[in-house]
């Protein structure tokens, strides 16, 4: 794997390999010496043009556990806010000699542009770009599902036949996009549940089923997994729905809806949560909730992703 830009590019074989390696990485996180020497002497830069302490810390932990040297570059307070471009920033980093770039950017496609640009010739991992994709989030979600379903016997398995409902702001969600492609690759059946205003215009071309009615969707599909998406503050005042109360009543995992779910249904959320809006505390804090496992698994999955893009033979290109 040269880059990890989108889960659409990932084959089933690669996806399972990544998840399996993540299994072995997670064992390291449980032991006394939480460190592996695989990336010793490699420098990884976390290039964050958007605030995301959670994702940045998760990548940083993954990089350090693989013994990489870590440079954190946050746009705020840096030369980027003074108008320096992605190109200039990247070329500066290339001149310093980095071995991989983990990039979070507000513009959809920025990681792909970076990977194709020739500004820097190193592996690129997309840590979330605009409203496009967030591949490592999808991998940690898939890892979490597989682990809950298969436990120690997870290795080598996909998510064939697993029913997943993704609920909320699909239109603006990079988590949803990455999950749709990866879950499909792994054999899961995905249903999107959202008000029509928060679904992409051409969602009918996606390999999913769509419902506008959460109660109906939960009753009909009997999902193994319900994944609730965060409603961003800026959506509240742009006529996507009348107000928070109505959204919560119709598309939130309220206490009442949560209690109506079978006891084995997993409740997932990529965080950070708006408690009382898209998810009730009863659901978030229940044993069915995987929210904290998702955080822990994020480190393992990111270790696996870093290992996969950084190791292996690399073609040396000369201009």
């Amino acid at each position: 794997m040269k880059h990890l830009l989108s889960t659409r590019d990932v084959t089933r074989e690669e996806a399972i390999q990544l998840l399996d390696i993540a299994e072995d990485m997670s064992a390291v996180n449980d032991r006394e010496v939480k460190k592996l020497p695989a990336l010793r002497g490699k420098t990884v830069v976390n290039l964050f043009f958007e605030d995301s302490t959670r994702t940045r810390i998760s990548f940083e932990a993954a990089e350090k556990r693989l013994s990489a040297d870590v440079i954190n570059f946050a746009a705020k307070g840096s030369s980027v806010s003074k108008g320096e471009s992605l190109k200039d920033t990247t070329q500066t980093l290339a001149a310093m000699g980095v071995d991989a770039v983990v990039i979070r950017h507000g513009a959809s496609g920025a990681p792909q542009v970076l990977a194709q640009s020739g500004w820097i010739d190193v592996p690129v991992i997309n840590a979330g770009d605009g409203t496009h994709e967030h591949p490592t989030q999808a991998f940690l979600d898939a890892f979490t599902m597989r682990k809950r379903l298969h436990g120690a016997g997870s290795r080598g398995k996909g998510l064939d036949g697993v029913k997943v409902n993704i609920v909320g702001d699909i239109l603006h969600s990079r988590v949803a996009r990455s999950n749709v492609w990866l879950l499909q690759t792994l054999g899961a059946e995905v249903q999107l549940v959202a008000p029509p205003t928060l679904l992409p215009h051409a969602v009918n071309t996606w390999p999913v089923s769509v419902s506008f009615d959460l109660d109906d969707a939960l009753a009909q599909s009997k999902p193994d997994v319900v994944m609730m998406l965060r409603i961003q503050q800026e959506r509240m005042h742009d006529a996507f729905f009348p107000n928070e109360r109505e959204y919560s009543n119709m598309w939130g995992l309220t206490q009442e809806r949560f209690y109506s779910l079978p006891a084995k249904t997993m409740v997932m959320h990529p965080g950070p949560m708006n408690r009382g809006l898209e998810i009730s505390s009863a659901a978030a804090d229940s044993p069915q909730s995987t929210v904290l496992e998702q955080v822990a698994n994020g480190v393992s999955v990111r270790m696996a992703a870093l290992y996969m893009v950084l190791t292996g033979e690399r073609e040396v290109t000369h201009d």
């Binding site: 659409r8 471009s85 992605l86 190109k87 950017h105 507000g106 513009a107 959809s108 496609g109 920025a110 792909q112 542009v113 194709q116 640009s117 770009d129 605009g130 409203t131 496009h132 994709e133 990079r174 996009r177 992409p200 215009h201 051409a202 969602v203 071309t205 996606w206």
Partner: protein
Amino acid sequence: MTNPDLLIKGATLPDGSRADILIEGTQITAVGKGLSSASATTIDADGLVVLPGLVDLHTHLREPGYEQSETVLTGTQAAALGGFTSVFAMANTLPVADTAGVVEQVLRLGDEAGYATVRPIGAVTKGLEGIQLAELGAMANSRAAVRVFSDDGKCVFDPLIMRRALEYVKTFGGVIAQHAQEPRLTVDAQMNEGEVSARLGLAGWPAVAEESIIARDVLLAEHTGSRLHICHLSTAGSVDVIRWAKKRGINVTAEVTPHHLLLTDDRVESYDARFKVNPPLRRAEDVMALREALADGTIDIVATDHAPHPIESKDCEWGAAAFGMVGLESALAVVQTTMVETGLIGWADVARVLSETPARIGGLATHGQKIQPGIQAELVLVDPATRRNFGVEDLASLSHNSPYLGIELAGQVVATIHQGYLTTDDRTLVAADVVSAQAEVVARG
């Protein structure tokens, strides 16, 4: 003093017949077989098609204000290399062309450069802000004699302002060229709204945002009895609305760009900002509908929307990139590739959509005429047999943001003749000092 006479030997006219063409001074003095002239420079046009010089009703020359993207000189050089002998320069400069002073400046720069007739377009509203009418009358009565008015780049979104503008320009026989884009439906829009935008996570620019404005404006044109021109049609739905309006007798004309005749929104999958344009590249169905509409006359003309941008505005992430593509140098080749090679239209139609009708809409009597003795010599010679991978070396524009780089196109301009002298000769641009000297000779009469 006059410029050298030219004798074009054996060119194929738009109607398919072959003839020699003699140019003396600024005029065509003879068209026929077996012409000879002792003094004239002879151009062998065996196998070449001759068309009236192309007229672009939609060019961004960027000067004044954005000279790092293009100047009147470099923009008209791009025009000459593409076979154009006249360009209409859009008003979104800095300062905006909303006063007589700015349009006269652009006119003068064009005359000095001498590569093409530059006709400034005036802004409809002051500062393109859509709130207050610009000094339309002053611009019309200036030396630039502006007849086409447009806020292009922005839509005249207020229906009342649009109505007033349509009515007001009747005073001097003007036309409003509308950039049809409902602003509220296209907030932060990045590309065509559809399957690709959904996947790429780019905010959509829905077809309805164009179609709804066109529908509104043709009805306003009908109500006011005014002349309306619609810039860069991009959707099948827009074609339907125009077809309906024309059937109803509404005085509307419509243009399509070369890129909307060839490229589709799946190009955006690369996030290569050369494909970022407004209105955006649409679906294959739209491209087919536009071609058909151009062939059947629903769409009147092809105009380039030549929009140069410096490298830093394109070599960046999609969201930060500027909208627009250069198009003057490639327009004729794209039209040949998409319309002539496919058998949809012939060369007489090419002359109509790229020269005669745009000249008529823009009120430019000296251009777009049938090739015959007594007219001003505005001509282009095309080699339709050339096939080339379009490259940076095919550009004369200061900017290189062409979407066709690396794409094979049919046909190439061999020579362009403006006011009786060559601006492109043997597929190469004629040097600026030679052209400006010849232009000066013409100006002195």
